[in-house]
C-alpha cells in the first residue's frame, strides 16, 4: 500500500471531438457539442438537444476495428481506450501486468432497445446478437479483448460517478502492487432508455444547458468515453507522465434515490476526503472541474458543498458538461482526462452559456478558455443517482 500512481496518458471521444486534440480545439473555439439528434432514433429528437459523437456506428466501427453491429458503447470505449494507451507511449501492453477498469451505465442497451420491439411482439423473435452484449461487463470485455488485456478486467456502475470510481479502483490496485498499468475510465452511448428516463424526471433542458447559471433548467445528455492510463512509480520513471492522481474519495449522500441533499453532504464528504488523501488544503486547488450538470438540484447542492469547503476564496471552476453534455457513466473518465491534461498544459476550461450569477452561491464559473497557467493541483467531481459521490485530485508532481 505505498507509492504513487501516475497518469501516463489519456484518450477521449465526445460530442465535441473524436480525440483529445479535437476536444481541446472545441473548448478553445467555444463550440459546445449540443445539436439536434441525428444518430439516436427517438420521438424526442426535435425537443431535446444532445451532444452526440458526430459519427454513425459504421464510421466508429471502422475506426475501432470492430463490427458495426456491436453496441455503440463498446465502439466509443475502444476508440478512447486506444487513444489513451497510444498516448502513454508504453509500447506493447502484453509486457505489463495490465488491467482495464471501465465504467458504464447502459451497457449494450442501445441494441437491446431495438431487440425489444420485435421481442414484445413475439417472444421468439428479435435477433439474439442484439442482446448478447446487453450486460455492462460484456461491453468492457469486448474492448479488453481487443486491447489484449487479461490480468484484470472489471466494470463499475455507480450511475454518474461510475467513471471516477473506475480510476479509484485502478489506482488502488496499482498501489497494492497487483498491477503495473491500468486503463481506467468510462463509456456510455446515448439510448432512448436514458433519454426517456431523464425526461420522466423532468431534468432535461430543451435549450443548451447552463451549468452554475441562475437560469439553468436542466441537463443535456451526451455520449462518449474517456480513459486515463494509470501507472506505478516504476513505470512512470520510464516516461514523462502528465501528472499524478494524489487524492480520491467516494462517499454517499444517503438522502434520496435520485436527488442530492440541499447542502450536498455526499458532495462535501467526497471533496473533503479527496483533499485529505492528497494532503492538500482547499486553498492549494488551482482549478475545479465541477460535476455541474445544469439541473437546479445538482448545481445548488454541489455549489453549497464547494462553498463550505473553499470559502472565502474560490479557485477557477467550470463545468465542461456545458460542452460535452452529461455523458453519465463516461463523464468521470472524460473529465479525468480533461483535468489531467489541464495540469500538463496549464489549461482552464470555460463554462459555456453562462450569463446570470446563481443566487445560492457567491462564486461564478470561468467563461473563457485560457492556457499557460502554472497549475499544481486540479479537482474533478462526479456525483450520481443512488447518492454516489466521488472526487479526484490530480497533482503536477
Amino acid at each position: 500500500m505505498s507509492g504513487n500512481v501516475w497518469i501516463a496518458g489519456g484518450g477521449v471521444i465526445s460530442g465535441i471531438g473524436q480525440n483529445l486534440g479535437q476536444c481541446m480545439a472545441a473548448f478553445e473555439a467555444m463550440q459546445p457539442g449540443m445539436e439536434k439528434m441525428r444518430h439516436l432514433q427517438s420521438v424526442h429528437a426535435g425537443t431535446f438537444p444532445v451532444a452526440e459523437v458526430k459519427a454513425d456506428n459504421e464510421e466508429l466501427a471502422r475506426k475501432a476495428g470492430m463490427p458495426a453491429h456491436w453496441s455503440r458503447t463498446a465502439l466509443l470505449s475502444m476508440l478512447a481506450a486506444k487513444e489513451a494507451w497510444q498516448s502513454a507511449g508504453l509500447g506493447d501492453i502484453s509486457q505489463y501486468r495490465a488491467g482495464f477498469v471501465s465504467a458504464n451505465t447502459v451497457g449494450g442497451m442501445d441494441k437491446t432497445e431495438d431487440f425489444m420491439k420485435s421481442f414484445l411482439d413475439n417472444a421468439a423473435s428479435g435477433r439474439l446478437r442484439h442482446v448478447v452484449h446487453h450486460e455492462c461487463g460484456a461491453v468492457t470485455e469486448l474492448v479488453a479483448d481487443a486491447l489484449g488485456i487479461r490480468h484484470h478486467v472489471s466494470t463499475i456502475s455507480t450511475a454518474c460517478s461510475s467513471g471516477a470510481n473506475a480510476l479509484m479502483y485502478g489506482a488502488r490496485m496499482i498501489r497494492a502492487g497487483m498491477l503495473d498499468v491500468v486503463i481506467a475510465g468510462g463509456t456510455d452511448s446515448l439510448t432512448r432508455f436514458t433519454l426517456n428516463g431523464f425526461n420522466t424526471l423532468m431534468i432535461l433542458d430543451q435549450q443548451p444547458c447552463r451549468p452554475f447559471d441562475d437560469t439553468r433548467t436542466g441537463l443535456n445528455l451526451g455520449e462518449g468515453a474517456g480513459y486515463v492510463v494509470l501507472v506505478s512509480d516504476e513505470i512512470a520513471r520510464k516516461i514523462k507522465p502528465w501528472c499524478r492522481i494524489s487524492g480520491f474519495a467516494n462517499a454517499n449522500d444517503a438522502y434520496h434515490q435520485t436527488a442530492s441533499s440541499p447542502e450536498g453532504i455526499g458532495n462535501f464528504k467526497a471533496m473533503e476526503g479527496a483533499l485529505k488523501m492528497s494532503g492538500l488544503a482547499a486553498s492549494e486547488i488551482d482549478y475545479i472541474n465541477l460535476h455541474g450538470t445544469g439541473t437546479q438540484n445538482n448545481d445548488s447542492s454541489e455549489g453549497r458543498a464547494v462553498e463550505r469547503l473553499f470559502a472565502p476564496s474560490y479557485p477557477p471552476l467550470s463545468s465542461t458538461k456545458s460542452f460535452t453534455g452529461h455523458t453519465l457513466g463516461a463523464s468521470g473518465g472524460i473529465e479525468a482526462v480533461f483535468s489531467a491534461w489541464a495540469l500538463r498544459e496549464g489549461i482552464i476550461y470555460p463554462n459555456a452559456n453562462f450569463t446570470t450569477q446563481m443566487k445560492e452561491v457567491p462564486f461564478s464559473p470561468v467563461t473563457h478558455f485560457s492556457k499557460g497557467h502554472a497549475l499544481r493541483h486540479v479537482m474533478s467531481n462526479s456525483f450520481g443517482f443512488g447518492g454516489n459521490c466521488s472526487s479526484l485530485v490530480f497533482s503536477k508532481e
Binding site: E135, G137, Q257, G266
Partner: protein, 346 residues
Amino acid sequence: MQQAYIQGIGCVSAQDNALFSGTVRQHEGNRLPVADPDYKQWIDIKQIRRMGRVIKMGVAASHISLEQAGVARPDAIVMGTAYGCLADTGVFLNKLVTQNEDMLTPTAFIQSTHNTVSGQIALMLGCHAYNNTFVHGAFSLENALQDSLLLLAEDPSKQILAGAVDEITDYSHNILSRFRLYKNASTQNLLQSNTHGTIAGEGAVFFVLGAEKNERSMAALTAVEMLYNPASEKETFAHIAKFLDTYGQPDLLLAGRNGDTKNDAYYAAGEEKLFAGVPVAAFKHLCGEFPTAAAFAMWMAAGVLKNGAVPAAAMFKGKAPAAPKKILIWNHGGGKHHSLILLSAC
C-alpha cells in the same frame, strides 16, 4: 493478500438456514426462484409496495448480515450484480416501446440503475461511507470482495458490508432460454443429469467483513482470485496449481457444477488433475445457475465451517469431511471467467 473475517451473513435464496439441519427445498423445472422471506421484517410496509424485488432481496440480506455482526452502520458498502435491476429495466423498456416514448413515469427508471440496491441500503442506513457497485458478469461478486479486501488493507479498522444480488425475470428467463442455457430438471438429480443445460437461479447474499477476528466471526475469507479468459484448460489448471501451492489443499472443494455436460467436464478434469482425494461438494443444484451464485456458495461454506459439518445434500464426490478447516470455491462461467474463493475456519 489481506485476510478478512466474516462477522455476519444474510442470504435470500431458494434455500434457507434449514439447509444445515438437513432440510433441502427441492424443485422441478428450469427456473429456481428464491423463497421470498417476509420482507416486512426489514422494510417499511409503505416502501415495500414500490420497491423492486431485487432491491428487497438485497436489503433483506444486508440487514440480516449486519444484525448478525452487530454492526449498525458499516464503513463501506460494496456489491456486485451482473444483471442489475432487471424487473424495473423490463417495465421501463416495455412502456418505452409500447407507448412509443410517451407518458412514461419515473419510478421504474429510478429503480433500474445498477447501483439502486447499494444506494437504497445506504439510504436506509443513513450511511455516508464508501459505496461501490461492480457489474461484471461472473466477476461481479469477486470484484466486490477484492475491493473489500483492499479497503481492509488500507484501513483495518473498517467493517465492510459486501455482497451480491441477481434476479430472474420473465423477460430475462425467456431471452436467456433462447441461448439454450436451461433445461427442465429436478434439483435432486441435476448434478447427475449429464445433458446440455442447467437450471436458472437467483439470490442475494451479504457479508460483514472485518480485519480483526471477534466473537461473532464465522469464518475467514482467506483469498479471492480471478482468472480471465485463459487460453486453455492447461493454463487454468496451472493457475489453480499455483494457488494451491500458496494456500495448500482444501479439505473440501465446492465446485460450480451445474449439471451441464460441458460445464461440468471442466470441473471433472480439474478435480482429477489437481484435487486427488479431495472430497467435492456442489451448490448450484441448491441455488440455480447465475453469475453471482458463488455468493451463495460462500454462505454455504461459512455455515459448514461454523457448524463443522457438511449438509449431505451438498456432497457430490467422496466422503464429507468431519469439521473441515478449509473450503475452496472454484466457479467458472463458460470457461472464460474462473474464480477461486478460499474460506477457512477461525
